[in-house]
Symmetry: C2
Subunit: 412 residues, 2 copies
Amino acid sequence: MSNKTKLIDPSHGLIRKCIKKPYAAGALSDLSFAVKDNIDLANCKTGNGNPCWEETHTKAVANAVCVDQLLTAGANCIGKTQLDELACSLLGMNEFYKNPINTKAPDRITGGSSSGSAAVVASGLVDFALGTDTSGSVRVPASNCGLWGYRPSHGLISTAGVIPMAPSFDTVGVFANNGQVLSKVLQVLLASVNTNSTTNLTINFLDDIFANCDFPIQQIMAPVINEITKVYPGQHVTYGKIVGEPIDSSWLAERAWPLIRSNLWSTHGSWIEENMSAFSPNVAYTFENISKRVKGGSRANIQGLLLETSRFARKVRHFLSNGNILCFPTTVDLAPKHKDILNDFFVSREYYLRTMGVTAISGVSRTPEITIPLVEYDGVPIGLSFIGGYADDLLLMDVCDSLKNIMGTELD
Amino acid sequence: MSNKTKLIDPSHGLIRKCIKKPYAAGALSDLSFAVKDNIDLANCKTGNGNPCWEETHTKAVANAVCVDQLLTAGANCIGKTQLDELACSLLGMNEFYKNPINTKAPDRITGGSSSGSAAVVASGLVDFALGTDTSGSVRVPASNCGLWGYRPSHGLISTAGVIPMAPSFDTVGVFANNGQVLSKVLQVLLASVNTNSTTNLTINFLDDIFANCDFPIQQIMAPVINEITKVYPGQHVTYGKIVGEPIDSSWLAERAWPLIRSNLWSTHGSWIEENMSAFSPNVAYTFENISKRVKGGSRANIQGLLLETSRFARKVRHFLSNGNILCFPTTVDLAPKHKDILNDFFVSREYYLRTMGVTAISGVSRTPEITIPLVEYDGVPIGLSFIGGYADDLLLMDVCDSLKNIMGTELD
């Protein structure tokens, strides 16, 4: 691979230099960005985090639509960033390449699968970066690396020219170092302008998630809630109130992950089965398991899972349609240390279930989520997430921007 | 190709027998269906309407998620149906295969690209069929062939295992002979139950479309409007009222088509450029033109088109969020005769612009649309369309079902 892929500086996240100049001056002039290597840049291979994928696919003939939007608005594209194999991980540990470093907590994982896009922003190489977020692949690394991270309302940002993974969940998201840059980028990608009408909103602290957090995160959150309620009316809510009945912490993950798996197999199952030897051992193990499940008839369960998650999604969207914003920690655990993941496969399994139990709220309900880099615990970044109503992405952006300004002065 | 593809009975729409038995008894037991050949059935090739596509792609390893939903609910799948090359047409005329017949008007086109799925329902071979609808590919053939046709709110029915074309516009839609069957299928695919709350609704007759219709369609519509207003409050509206300014009949088509083209090129541009000789002359001509435009820098226009269409979409969704239903003829022309299309390429160009000017309303605004087989003019079917608010698909279904019952008795 080394003669085909120029590894620019993988520890900073960039793996492929591929400069695309802006089409015109605009709102993003003077801003530079990079894109995850599952997003097309014209005349460039899209590697999808796996050497065999890169070898068996030809160059893209056009930029992804979202990239063309940014170039039209004046931004400069510098290249491609590292990701996990086929974007199928929340860890940011790709055995085929040197992995990006979490600059703020170097002994901990960046998170994935948009590991390089997080690192390239955290290291200051670019002003913002595009990632993809199917089940947390922007929000988790943003939280781990101390960045702003955004997952859009499903479908509102074009995925044309982005390798699909699980179409019902796939989104193009954004990393940035601050809310001002993120807001500018969102207005371009959503082809709209900010709403500036953050009145009559209530911030709802989702107690189920707070209660499930690791102790260090719980410890940090009490004063944060206090600060938020100085700006917006706030209240504590539970799943019981939102969806009509209590759900336990693994309920969502146990439904979202099989659905994503089914989507993935419909999207890439043929290619994966043909190229099973092309994956690293851990990834191959996961894919072999999915293949066995499909052959064992697991797909008859899809409708049951959809009935449950669709009901959940409708209740959440209804709750959010009346000026309610949901708020909770982006992940319930601090970013794991590399050595803990490498030494014990069960750490990552447990971590997955706990993390997807949180990231799947917006994933299943198709709503927008923004994670802001709240505070650090012993030097380790932690993100706080906000979810707004479907298509209320820019309103949510305004809320987060206003909160961050205040929290920054109080807590830094 | 003939030794690879069993042409079961192309004139009825079915091109590939591939039986999938239900996983269990359920709401769709005793109903049979077929799927457009850009939707995966496990262990079967997905031909995408082009012999070279079929040759260069392997068998699917899983059913599309939407197919598994139907099998779980008890429906029987009998096989695959004909479509236009890569689903890129509204005509239903694929030069590589014998085309399906419009049984109610055999001298006229079925419409496309879901030509076979329309024909297989119209000919009574199955109770319902899945198609895909990016810019009218379910609604146009449903209207032409005298069927119920449904395009969902964008993203609410899974497209996993369906070959993408233009992700921002792609949907999986349904054909049926009556509203009862369509309603049952929708409840399964949307993983929900009917709302039964069709109160406080207003039917809004979109005068811009009525005024732009061919004379025979205009002639038929006056008594129909009268019948509808006996059931629901009705009013006449214009684009001026909905989006704040008048737009002319080609405005939407002139924006939606370049956006779909850009999406298409991001999705399949590489494969198309490698296989340009694999297409029929008319399709190759279209693709060569798109390729030239991309190389000529047309993609710098994407953001301008998105700004205009996003604004239109927000205004339409806002209008529909208050119990308003839009109503207009599904197409502004009767299905063209085969000989007119074959003899004059400009007929199809003109027809496209006029048709997409109507079909792009829901396409751009991501809202659900149902076309019902209203009446026939001199034996030629004409559909009437209804658009509801985003995610209000089942409410819209109930409205259409109640209207059809009444109109059937009054006008048949």
